[in-house]
């Protein structure tokens, strides 16, 4: 029930914010903030009350929705979705805060969109019914479209079309694959249902399974994004308002990873293992190509957008390594990337607010004028390049460690991505904060609201870098579940390096 309440609060306050927004411009901000806080507190309560639980699902809520088709309103939460929900609400709060001064037109409708995107994402992380999952999957696209389309920058209309059409195309293939799975299961068992746990055991002949998996992948790899399908991302991220970019990078991309781990791996273990070389290949291409393109950008926001492509390449790589260490890396990367890239987008937003451009060649020397901002820039650039002690390092290290057990060659190439990350991160620092001051009127440093936002992000990324153990422990059962089938199929004799338990490694702080 509490899970349904999480959604109801967001959807309801969204409508309320819109209605109130016509009377008062400021009120919607508070409504959005309060509703997200309530959701965060509720989720945190679930988190603290259920530590160390061994149940498969911490909370499992099921109600009828459209029994005619065997569609249920089935929500459930486990370690992985719990972590992602916490992330969702934190990022949600941050995105409301960064828009506090940036968005002054139609605040009511703006916050309706923000809250409904968050509701869609929350639904995606909670649904265990495939139809419901698809419903939420689509639901988050429309408000995001409006967010980019109405409050975006110069080229927003083109970017919003591209975003909508790309994601919708992937979504439809996912939808058809879900339906086929439904019919295969129905014909085998006589029970027609979209319920994921029920569909799990379906035996599908290998070639059909591979096609179905491609249908699922179409949607997830577009969202992720994997390289040949990444084209929508730079435009959408660049043109969206800051809040939109933060949500896109922090949350929307994560729904693709989540779908991969939650649904694709358990439903099609064999097909996924067969796809693994391609998956890892796409991951490496994403890492290197994203880094290369990031380095070449002159638009600071576009640069940050391409770093997303590069970072998400690690996630794809880890997801197809089929071992627990890599999966731990994937989980940390999801959170770390949301925070570090989100923070960089916020930084770009703050700069743009002050100098009205995102062109790197017109920036420089901000270190003297805005030391606090420059410090934040330094911290998150370092996070982005994978400095030990910050979250991204743990993530990338674990991912590479896990991948090494699966394929040494791929790991070697992927490691080059760290050099790429160093290049583009240092370039941000060099061009924006060092050198001679270019903009004549000095820019203002961060104000209190901006410091609070950045402060939250800094604490999160440092905590993640120093104490990832708690998060890993929470996610562990979910990852085991996701890997249950596929690890057996994935040639174990190649696992030359053996680690007893990745958690041990962090507890003793020494690699055996």
């Amino acid at each position: 029930m509490i899970l349904a309440a999480l959604l109801a609060i967001l959807i309801g306050s969204g409508i309320l914010a819109w209605l109130v927004g016509r009377l008062n411009k400021e009120l919607p901000r508070y409504i959005a903030l309060v509703s997200l806080m309530i959701d965060l507190i509720l989720t945190a309560a679930i988190f603290f009350n259920n530590q160390g639980t061994t149940d498969e699902w911490i909370i499992d809520f099921s109600a009828g929705w459209i029994p005619h088709f065997g569609i249920g309103f089935h929500l459930a939460i486990d370690g992985l979705s719990l972590l992602l929900l916490l992330l969702t609400f934190v990022i949600g709060i941050v995105s409301v805060l960064v828009s506090w001064k940036e968005i002054n037109e139609n605040t009511g409708f703006f916050h309706l969109n923000i809250l409904w995107i968050i509701a869609g994402i929350t639904g995606v992380f909670l649904s265990l019914d495939l139809f419901l999952f698809y419903f939420f999957w689509e639901l988050m696209i429309v408000p995001m479209f409006f967010l980019i389309n109405i409050w975006g920058h110069e080229n927003r209309i083109y970017a919003s079309y591209k975003f909508f059409i790309y994601t919708q195309a992937g979504g439809l293939l996912l939808f058809i694959a879900i339906l086929v799975l439904y019919f295969i299961h129905g014909r085998q068992t006589g029970i027609y249902t979209f319920d994921f746990p029920a569909l799990l055991g379906t035996s599908i002949n290998p070639s059909t399974a591979f096609l179905l998996m491609l249908g699922f992948l179409a949607a997830f790899l577009i969202k992720l994004p994997a390289v040949p399908l990444h084209n929508w991302l730079p435009d959408a991220h660049t043109e969206a308002p800051t809040a939109g970019s933060v949500i896109l990078a922090g949350l929307l991309l994560k729904t693709g990873v989540y779908g991969l781990i939650r649904f694709v791996m358990p439903l099609f273990p064999e097909a996924s293992v067969n796809f693994a070389p391609y998956g890892m290949g796409l991951g490496v291409i994403g890492i290197l190509y994203g880094a290369k393109l990031a380095f070449a950008q002159t638009d600071l926001k576009r640069l940050v957008a391409y770093t997303s492509v590069s970072h998400m390449g690690f996630v794809l790589l880890g997801a197809y390594a089929f071992n627990e260490i890599a999966y731990q890396g994937v989980v940390i990367q999801m959170i770390a990337h949301a925070i570090s890239t989100g923070a960089l987008f916020i930084l770009v937003g703050q700069l743009q607010e002050r100098i009205h451009t995102r062109d790197i060649s017109r920036m420089g020397g901000f270190w003297q004028q805005a030391p606090a901002m420059a410090a934040m820039g330094l911290i998150f650039s370092m996070a982005s390049l994978g400095l030990p002690g910050l979250g991204n390092f743990v993530a990338e290290f674990l991912t590479l460690l896990g991948t090494y057990q699966s394929s040494i060659l791929v790991t070697c190439f992927a490691s080059l991505g760290l050099i790429g990350a160093t290049l583009y991160s240092l370039r941000i620092m060099q061009k924006v904060f060092y050198g001679k001051a270019k903009s004549l009127p000095a820019i203002a440093d961060l104000n209190l609201r901006e410091k609070v936002i950045s402060g939250i992000m800094v604490i999160a990324i440092v905590y993640l870098g120093l104490f990832p153990g708690g998060i890993l422990a929470t996610a562990k059962p979910s990852l085991k579940k996701a890997l249950k089938e596929s690890t057996l199929l994935f040639s174990p004799e190649r696992n030359q390096l053996k680690f007893s338990d990745p958690l041990e490694m962090f507890k003793s702080n020494s690699i055996p």
Binding site: H68, F69, Y161, I165, L179
Partner: protein
């Protein structure tokens, strides 16, 4: 004809009686609001009578008409659609110089034709219904007779409808030659006994498909659609797109299912090709349009293409998918044309995309209504259009119609583009001149339609249960 037949025919009798009643009243008074009110009451009575519980279903009234679950449910939808169209017409008639009340008479005649079509099980009633509908439509399309476009559209529709009727009649004739029967059950049993001449029958069915293809605007018989939609007043375009097409598709389904034509392979191939062509042509041609009415015309072409999928499944699921899709399509399209009608003024209709620029900032409710309608046409969740498309894909995959399902998916993406163009225009920065105040009736209709579409999209279970009652004919 027995006494109890009248009970079953009450809705038809009310609708048939209304033109006479209006004509009688017109001899006393020509006060438009009064006659308009009486028409609305008449439609309301007809809706109530169609929902009235009947002792026994299905019930055959002679060998021409059969009242069953299918026809009752469709007639309810058609009458509700007719009621909404009449309400939306009020503004347009208000601006109209000269004759106003005749419009209502013709609307009733057209509705009579559609209701006859949904219940017909015989070539005679089929053809009569279709012609009653078509002749009424010629008049309605040309109702703004001061406009050249309207006359052009009407003549175009007249010529093509006559040609298509000729094809239809020829096809019926060939089938009669082959089987010696005119009623659907008769032809079905003749087909089952296989005492038939295949080539003759196939030619007959082919001819009929050409005729019906024209009426439904399926590719390659679609050429008239955009011009007619553009030339006709928005409420009439809505009538053609929704009620008229809904009833023709109903009789096509009845014919197809009763005769089990989906078992004839050649016919299935022909219809698959027509379906795929309609989807692609409709959507691709809509992309470059700047006229909202033409966009809706092309959109209806592709929607009819989607509707061929449940026709070919030939099972219960297909029939229910059809019902759901038709209901969703009728209400959505009505809503879309309703917005066009509401925004139209005395001089010209709000038919260009540019007319909608910044609408959201001036008339947020109207813009949201239109957005919901367009998203429903595009098949985005929360709307009826999504559930409808889901049901059609569901039926298609259940019957392994892969080609059609995949092209539906591709076309949904193409279609999205031009629906979004209108949506985007509405959310652009404000620079529209301030708009007139909306009339009460029109706002009521639009709000009801929006609520209905959202309800169908989020809680479709009740409607699905209603349609689950349609087991067979």
């Amino acid at each position: 004809m027995q006494q109890e037949d009248f009970l079953y025919l009450t809705p038809l009798i009310i609708i048939a009686g209304m033109p006479v009643l209006i004509m009688v009243i017109m001899t006393f008074t020509k006060n438009f609001p009064v006659i308009f009110g009486i028409s609305i009451l008449g439609l309301y009575a007809a809706i109530l009578s169609v929902l009235m519980p009947l002792p026994e279903l299905p019930h055959a009234v002679s060998s021409f008409i059969r009242i069953d679950a299918f026809s009752i449910r469709l007639n309810a939808v058609i009458l509700i659609g007719g009621l909404f169209i009449t309400l939306l017409s009020y503004d347009f008639l208000h601006y109209q110089e000269g004759e106003k009340t005749e419009y209502l008479i013709v609307i009733f005649v057209a509705l009579l034709g559609t209701m006859l079509l949904t219940a017909s099980v015989h070539f005679i009633s089929f053809f009569l219904g279709l012609e009653t509908l078509s002749i009424a439509l010629f008049i309605l399309i040309a109702y703004r007779k001061s406009k050249d476009q309207a006359i052009e559209a009407s003549v175009k529709y007249f010529v093509l409808a006559s040609v298509s009727s000729a094809f239809l009649l020829f096809g019926m004739g060939l089938i009669y030659v082959g089987t010696g029967e005119l009623s659907f059950p008769g032809i079905a049993s003749a087909l089952a006994e296989d005492k038939t001449n295949d080539v003759l029958l196939l030619a007959g069915f082919g001819m009929m498909m050409v005729g019906l293809g024209f009426k439904l605007a399926l590719v390659p018989f679609h050429m008239w659609t955009p011009d007619v939609y553009q030339g006709a007043p928005a409420p009439v375009s809505a009538f053609i797109a929704t009620v008229s097409k809904g009833s023709v598709i109903a009789v096509l389904y009845r014919f197809f299912y009763e005769l089990r034509l989906f078992e004839i392979e050649n016919l299935v191939v022909i219809i698959s090709v027509i379906s795929v062509l309609s989807m692609f042509t409709g959507n691709l041609l809509a992309i470059r349009q700047n006229n909202v009415k033409r966009i809706l015309a092309y959109s209806s072409i592709s929607n009819l293409g989607y509707l061929m999928i449940p026709l070919l499944t030939g099972d219960q699921t297909g029939l229910q998918a059809l019902m759901f899709y038709v209901v969703s399509y009728i209400f959505t399209t009505l809503g879309a044309f309703g917005v066009v009608a509401v925004l139209s003024g005395r001089e010209r209709e709000a038919e260009m995309i540019a007319d909608y620029r910044g609408l959201f900032w001036k008339q947020p409710v109207l813009a949201i209504v239109f957005t919901v309608m367009l998203l429903s046409l595009a098949g985005i969740p929360l709307t009826a259009g999504f559930m409808a498309k889901f049901y059609v894909v569901f039926a298609g995959i259940g019957s392994n119609l892969w080609l059609l399902v995949i092209s539906l998916a591709i076309n949904s993406v193409i279609g999205l583009y031009y629906y979004l163009r209108i949506v985007v225009a509405m959310f652009l920065p404000k620079d529209v001149p301030s708009l007139k105040v909306l009339s009460f009736t029109a706002s009521l209709v639009l709000i009801l339609l929006t609520a209905g579409i959202l309800w169908m999209g989020v809680f479709p279970q009740q409607l699905l249960e209603i349609f689950a009652g349609i087991s067979s004919f």
